[in-house]
């Protein structure tokens, strides 16, 4: 049975025009999942629904290339359903799950399970990485051809740095026949040892075991040389320090095929936050010094840093509400990334909204083969988000659709609130709410 044509009209928007780096005031008409008309729309006959968005802005949907879905295996922290809900609640229309699930994503079966669950839940688009090595052990390569056929967008052993350089050399060389990137979490575990926070001023005062920036930049250098040697494609994820950034800058200048990302928390917070042992500031890599933070800000301004990724890492409350040393590393990010970045970077003119979207929409799409439109134009798939910016609000746990609460921005006063998330003409988030009938999925 053919569905009758669904015609949605969003009125009175401030609509971004990426191509011309400007905004226009007008309406968006959606027909059959596509944007059929932009601008002043007077004829409102045969419209299924009219939504007045006075004072709100429409921009392309956000894409997160570093999400921990936790399903399969740790469904008490997050599921593909709750992660998808968190995503659309935070303005993310696509998320990319890391391979460290249980079982790890090292067989085509797990790849298909994740992608099919994502499609069935039908909120954000769900993508996944595959493991570089079997069970993320850094020893034997996964059956990469299988994983690629299953639909992965890249390979990563994420939190488990591939410590044996020969394995990385072979992986980067082998993967060249598939043209997908290997995403690297750079941490020399011999140098970070049992560290729990950045080795610096605050760590010296608190006496806790430190993680030196050295553990990141030295192995980044090693891996970029390996990439250069085999002409492989690497993406360095969640870089945290000035020294790592300098290593990447040199590699880019030498023509190494490298891209990199940074998280919202490394851009906005520094290690002084740990003064009172709050485990919501415990993550890997650790929050670093103010000097490091400022260099990362510089990196997103100059374009040296390509992408902002959340490293959304949910953990149960009882796992985090323990002694700092015993808490797992990681914080959630899907639902707070937009407001904290918008407030701290866009609103105070560190970067433009266009540069912001380059890092959270068009670059992820470009480098990771993700099928999301990068502009709001007639004929495009109707996938975009609408936010309001009229008043300051405070981030608290009531906001969250994620199963977990371990967020580093609780209590922060922010601007910019996601009001609508629309994917292929389907309203996933409406007036800050996710349709109840989607709850049962």
């Amino acid at each position: 049975m053919k569905k009758s044509l669904n015609r949605l009209l969003f009125k009175n928007l401030h609509i971004i025009d990426i191509e011309n780096q400007s905004f226009i005031d007008g309406d968006i008409l959606i027909e059959d999942g596509k944007i059929s008309k932009l601008g002043k729309i007077e004829d409102i006959s045969e419209i299924t629904k009219i939504i007045n968005c006075k004072g709100m802005q429409a921009i392309p949907g956000l894409v997160d290339i570093h999400t921990h879905l936790r399903e399969p295996g740790e469904e008490y922290k997050e599921t593909i359903r709750t992660a998808s809900r968190a995503a659309v609640n935070g303005g993310f229309v696509a998320i990319c799950g890391m391979a460290n699930t249980t079982p790890t994503v090292d067989t085509i079966g797990t790849v298909k399970y994740i992608l099919e669950r994502g499609m069935k839940i039908n909120l954000a688009k769900v993508y996944t990485y595959g493991a570089v090595t079997k069970n993320l052990e850094g020893k034997e390569l996964s059956e990469i051809n299988d994983l690629v056929k299953g639909g992965i967008i890249g390979l990563s052993d994420d939190g488990n740095t591939i410590m044996d350089p020969t394995i990385l050399l072979r992986a980067l060389s082998y993967v060249k026949m598939f043209d997908i990137p290997i995403v690297l979490h750079e941490e020399d575990i011999n140098l970070s040892e049992n560290g729990v926070m950045h080795e610096g001023d605050m760590q010296t005062k608190l006496g806790m075991a430190g993680i030196p920036d050295l553990s990141e930049d030295t192995i980044t250098y090693r891996d970029l040389r390996i990439a250069e040697y085999v002409n492989g494609r690497v993406h360095i994820t969640h870089i945290s320090s000035k020294n790592t950034l300098e290593v990447i800058e040199i590699a880019k200048r030498r023509g190494v095929r490298v891209t990199c990302d940074v998280t919202p928390h490394h851009l906005i917070l520094n290690d002084t936050k740990i003064e009172f042992f709050n485990t919501n500031y415990k993550m890997k890599p650790p929050l670093r010094s103010e000097k490091d933070r400022l260099s990362l800000i510089e990196g997103i301004k100059t374009g040296l840093i390509d992408i902002i990724a959340t490293d959304h890492a949910p953990h149960a409350i009882y796992e985090k509400e323990v002694e700092f040393n015993y808490a797992p590393f990681g914080v959630t990010g899907l639902e707070t990334a937009f407001p904290v970045l918008y407030t701290n970077l866009v609103k105070n003119d560190k970067i433009t909204i266009f540069r912001f979207l380059e890092m959270l929409n068009s670059n992820p799409v470009k480098y990771f083969d993700i099928d999301i439109p990068t502009d709001i134009k007639e004929g495009n798939d109707a996938t975009f988000i609408i936010f309001s910016d009229d008043k300051e609000w405070e981030i608290n746990t009531d906001l969250f659709e994620s199963k977990s609460r371990n967020n580093a921005f609780l209590g922060e006063k922010v601007y910019g609130r996601i009001e609508y998330t629309i994917i292929n003409g389907d309203i996933k988030l409406e007036k800050r709410k996710i349709d109840k009938k989607k709850k049962g999925v």
Binding site: D201, T204, L206, G207, P212, F277, V322, E323, F324, N325
Partner: protein
Amino acid sequence: MKWEKKDLITIEELSKGEINLILETAEPFKEILRRNIKKVPPLRGRTVLNLFYEPSTRTATSFSIAAKRLSAEIMSISTSTSSVQKGETLLDTAKNLEAMKVDMVVMRHLCEGAPKFLAERINASVINAGDGNHEHPTQCLLDLSTLKENVKTFNGLKVLIVGDIRHSRVARSNIWGLTKLGAKVSVCAPPTLIPQNIDVLPVDVYYHFDEAIKDKDVIYLLRIQRERMKKGLFPSTREYMNLFSMDRSRLKEAKKNVIIMHPGPINRGVELDGDVADSKNSVILNQVTNGVAVRMAVLYLLNGGNKNEKIIE
């Protein structure tokens, strides 16, 4: 001045006035400890709990004696006998203590910040008896109280702390405490045992003991742990002793009236020569005695006591 804080977690967060209040409050308790009958009533009916997640003889005993001298009920739990063995979290332990209406908890833990974690979650007062490599406030206070008996003023007093500064809660507390009272603190250790960002602490750094020793009024030795050697932080006990042991020949190089201190337990012959430990320059046993008086003062003040109150009729 009146004591306002619910807990005693760090020396770093105390003002000079608060430190002096504790030291002054300790004085009458020292006098009580010299009497035949050493018990006074201020904490009668109060329940103090020693919660030790790390082995300790000296500190736990010192707190027990202090609490008993003040007529409190004191109980001791150590990890080997507690539900920690059954996997109970610190949060649940805190909730249970709260449910049992304990008034004060003396806590030692191998994790930095654990006493702070507990203090934020219970109404009872929490006293940090050492958290990882972070702080050991009552050790600092008893050291200050001992020094007070032996020097005219803290102003300009030159103190040298020797040993594993990097992994020492005693060093961190003493650096803050001594500096707040006006002393000039230096540290001396091989570079591997100095914290990476030592500049953030108000100290001068020496790598050579023989150079550092000359003009110091106080030399404070820290216990050296052999496990550090296994991690390659120094090559051997022998080499450490050659460079950093406080022995008789080094005592001759120091000022004539130099004060020798150590938080205990001593590795005799390693960081401190036995003869030096027992010499007239050593105040190590006075530190132990004063530990009880200072801990009495802390318990007393956290219980709402006032230093001007008459403690006994």
